[in-house]
Symmetry: C2
Subunit: 215 residues, 2 copies
DNA sequence: TAATCATTCCAGAAATTACTGGAATGATCA
DNA sequence: TGATCATTCCAGTAATTTCTGGAATGATTA
């Protein structure tokens, strides 16, 4: 057996490879996007406001850590998370961050003006209300993401189409809008628009990844 | 509302503060040690083979991320994890790493010569066997760590005292030795010693943090 | 009150990581 | 087969991070 120290160093070194992936804001944003489903490099670059080259190099590091896989589709190369446990880890990290970092809590409050726009969801009761039709759960992400996975009983109206398709929504029931997660601004914009138009609307912080975590 | 991009950047930036903590092998080792209970800077430095200064600076980063708290005890300052969710995150990260990284799996195999030294624990059956007294669960960590928390039905014999206290253990039952977790070598050494002395002994990879995770 | 001692702060050197532009790859599609 | 185009590789530079030595802190203890 080699000496204990060098063995240990090697072990922690390997685990740190995973940790390093989660140490860059840009990579975190890419992971959250990938939680919504498979996406091409170009799409990811666009949505994360990065150059394609830089996106590619970040994705390369994700792949080296075996957290993402690739697949060629036509001319594009599509990236996806290797499995659900990667999304789970992302959720657990950002939830821990929200619990611990006051700065993050403050920054989150800037997303909406009124704090009561939030619903710190009790899943069961939301689910029950949605089943009964008492509320409308609205997915405002791009439709491909909705097709990949969505919350139970959710309807899809991408934010871009929302203004044109307002008449599809009832005015006598509360609209619960959600998007990719707490750091995505789509649902906040949707709620703002809906309120201006006289709808009763609240903002659900959770996205599909958060919803799907075991705890 | 400020522009979407700068808000998002700020949010991911904050979450990355937590990720950064887990991106350094040395900090991971310190976190694992802290999973065993409160420890002074000097103790941590010694066990992680670091200088006191460097240990202090790593701990400072942990504290800035609000993952650890301090308490003065006599002349020493003791660090502890702020709560269980930090330990849970550590466990989830290293388990994910073990699942994904072949290099880590290979490095783990170097710890013991025979692969059947491992028991990829089925918790319930181990618990049952321990309750019935069919196996002896042996905690070989320093006794303070045992006193802080230990596995159900576990007995404590620190590795250093094991050779002198061999007669406390039965030869007709299997000894299941565990320590701080899969990257701690104490249990591996204990199993080696026990086998040389004619005992039936196996190595449990899990420590208290792994055992205590909800999943 | 003074002495002690564990710990932290500070500043600098070495190593690593993030990002940018130009060239190369390699599969698709005509 | 040859043209196209998304993506990756390969420099180089800027920025961060890790680690080391000397000084400073600040609570304890005599």
């Amino acid at each position: 057996m080699k000496d204990a120290r060098s063995i240990k160093d090697a072990l922690y070194e390997q685990v740190a490879r995973i940790g390093k992936v989660f140490s860059s804001p840009k990579r975190l944003e890419l992971i959250e996007l990938l939680c919504q489903g498979e996406k091409s490099v170009e799409t990811l670059a666009l949505e994360a406001s990065l150059s394609v080259k830089l996106t590619s190099s970040h994705l390369c590091e994700l792949r080296l850590a075996h957290l993402v896989e690739t697949r060629r589709q036509g001319k594009n190369i599509c990236y996806r998370l290797t499995d659900k446990s990667v999304a789970d880890l992302w959720v657990q990290i950002h939830v821990l961050a929200e619990d611990r970092l006051i700065e993050l809590q403050l920054a989150l409050q800037k997303i909406v003006s009124q704090p009561d726009d939030w619903v710190n969801s009790d899943r069961d009761s939301l689910l029950k209300a949605a089943r009964k039709g008492e509320v409308v759960v609205l997915d405002v992400r791009p439709s491909e993401e909705y097709l990949n996975a969505h919350l139970p009983f959710a309807r899809s109206i991408p934010l871009e189409e929302l203004r044109q398709r307002l008449d599809e929504l009832p005015k006598d029931r509360t609209i619960v809008a959600y998007c990719r997660g707490p750091y995505c601004l789509l649902a906040a914009d949707a709620v703002l628009l809906l309120k201006q138009e006289g709808y009763s609307a609240i903002h659900l912080r959770e996205g599909v990844a958060e919803w799907a975590t075991s705890r």
